[in-house]
Amino acid sequence: MLDKSTVRNIAFLARIDVPDADLEPLAHQLSGILDWVEQLQEVNTDGVHPMSSVTEMTMTWRPDEVTDGGHRDKVTANAPAARDGFFAVPKVVE
């Protein structure tokens, strides 16, 4: 069973603003999901390699050639704010 502070931390890492009142019910729901997935542990997987694809595929490789870029206007077109070709975001203070 997840506790409230774990849920609060998960929410922070995901940058989701969760009101305190919702922490308890969320802890229940998330624990339910974890328990449900947990059932997979009952399957014996001795000698079974982790599956990385449903078909027998190997990764596609690409030659080292510049085939993209040069469209900064399109890259920033949907940005909430842009300035002189840069993305503009609320100031990040270190």
Partner: protein, 484 residues
């Protein structure tokens, strides 16, 4: 050569491990076709993949894989024919995907080693824990606007090799030597340009202290140190801080810190408090990275002679000291210059001229060896002129300086300026007679037993002949004349 911090309660030893981020030399980025070239207009080297647009899929750059394997071979490391890309999740404005594609449990390169050449001629071995491929992040600028940070994603997605050392270093000097050696190996291999000013090589430095013989204590990680000098300084001040905290009865917290070279101190980066909760998991967009032995063998066949092998060969073939050999092999171009000079000549003399005179002048002028005003064969000719007695060793240094200025062959300079060594004993005798005649008292002193004064006479005769007389011949003639 041990580095010990003398605390009030006794001796402390420093333990250092380094994570070096080396930008892979390639045309395009690790998972997109945008240019990996440094600079450019903001966001001009950006594809929709690098900008983290929905639905874009990464496709790996084959050359970046080759470069990583090549580097692994250069570090005499284990090559993993199957490795896995993972997502490292964190939230920052210059990381548009919300995660960095990196490698976690199964990196492409495993355990290897780097041999350090210390200034006293000794060697030390530093273990490499792993090397993995990952994406670089974008660049944030915080000082361009009062309320906004500006983001340039040109670097976003550029291939990096993160090279993680074992905690094997015990002094700032060793850490400096490690970074220099690693840079040298990467440059030989052509897998990273090693340019720390442009950020192609950045270091995270892990520092802790302990009593000699003790197990490891808590370490702190100093992020993004960008020069060899700063790496050494950061270690020095951070180790001192640990000692002061321990001796004051305090505890060191594991944390990320920043080095401020102006203030000469490190300070905590509180913003990274949650940073260690990266929630790595295999990237579902990418299949495992797999290749066969033939792929590795093909890359192995392209490896150049690396600094360690070159150093051993220079010691063996040219009879150089370990130190001279290690100085010459740091850069491939310098080593090639030396070999061009040494070919068919005395290796030690060649090394001496190259290291003391040429490198000295190059450093002073801030020039690369490839920009040297004196070509290798010209320096070789000068050494020949000394060997066959045409110029004295003393005048040769002057000839060298004129060669540097006028870019002429040494024989031409010697001829034009009449700098030929005088071996004609008649001329030398005449000069000796003149000096003796002009200094009768000193000559008498010698005759009366103050034989050491002969050196003064040699100096005078050399002056008289503008350095052109052979000092050995001068000494012989003076002795004959003054002492019989």
């Amino acid at each position: 050569m041990s580095y010990i911090i003398k605390g009030e309660t006794g001796d402390w030893e420093v333990v250092i491990g380094l994570e070096v981020h080396a930008q892979v030399t390639s045309q395009a980025k690790l998972f997109s076709g945008a240019s990996a070239t440094y600079g450019g207009e903001a966001n001009d080297h950006v594809s929709f993949i690098d900008a983290g647009f929905p639905g874009m899929l990464p496709v790996i750059n084959a050359y970046c894989v080759e470069q990583a394997v090549k580097t692994g071979l250069g570090l005499r490391a284990q090559i993993n024919k199957r490795s896995v890309f993972a997502r490292k999740n964190y939230f920052y404005a210059d990381l548009p995907q919300g995660y960095q594609i990196s490698q976690y449990e199964l990196p492409v390169v495993g355990v290897g080693e780097v041999v350090l050449d210390m200034p006293d001629g000794s060697s030390a071995v530093v273990g490499i824990e792993r090397l993995h491929l990952e994406q670089d992040a974008g660049k944030s600028m915080h000082d361009q606007h009062p309320s906004l940070s500006l983001i340039d994603l040109n670097r976003s997605g550029v291939a990096l090799m993160e090279i993680v050392s074992m905690p094997d270093m015990r002094s700032p000097e060793q850490a400096g030597a490690y970074v220099r050696k690693l840079r040298s190996i990467l440059r030989y291999l052509g897998t990273c340009d090693g340019n720390m000013d442009e950020g192609s090589m950045r270091c995270d430095v892990n520092v802790s202290v302990r009593r000699p013989g003790e197990g490891y204590r808590t370490r702190c990680e100093i992020k993004n140190v960008n020069s060899v000098r700063f790496v050494m300084q950061a270690i020095e001040v951070e180790a001192k801080r640990h000692v002061e905290v321990y001796e004051g009865g305090g505890k060191i917290m594991q944390e990320t810190r920043l080095f401020d070279p102006n203030k000469g101190e490190t300070r905590s980066m509180r913003s990274k408090e949650h940073a260690h909760d990266y929630r790595y998991f295999p990237d579902p967009d990418l299949l495992p990275l797999e290749f066969d032995d033939a792929f590795v063998a093909r890359i192995k066949a392209t490896l150049p002679e690396l600094p360690d092998d070159k150093k051993a060969r220079f010691m063996d073939v040219y009879g150089l000291s370990p130190y001279d050999a290690s100085v010459l092999v740091v850069e491939r171009e310098r080593a090639e210059y030396f070999e061009a000079v040494a070919k068919g000549r005395d290796g030690k003399k060649a090394a001496n001229w190259v290291i003391t005179n040429l490198f000295g002048m190059l450093n002073k002028a801030g020039l690369d060896v490839t920009e040297s005003p004196v070509a290798a064969d010209q320096l070789g000719q000068l050494i020949d002129l000394i060997e066959d007695g045409t110029v004295s060793g003393r005048l040769a240094k002057e000839v060298f300086e004129i060669m540097w200025e006028e870019r002429k062959d040494p024989a031409v300079i010697v001829e034009e300026r009449g700098m030929k060594q005088v071996t004609d004993s008649g001329a030398i005798e005449a000069a000796c007679d003149e000096v003796i005649a002009a200094n009768p008292e000193k000559a008498n002193d010698i005759r009366n037993g103050k034989e050491k004064l002969i050196a003064w006479f040699i100096g005078q005769v050399m002056k008289q002949t503008q350095g052109k007389a052979n000092p050995g011949a001068v000494q012989e003639i003076l002795k004959k004349k003054l002492l019989g």
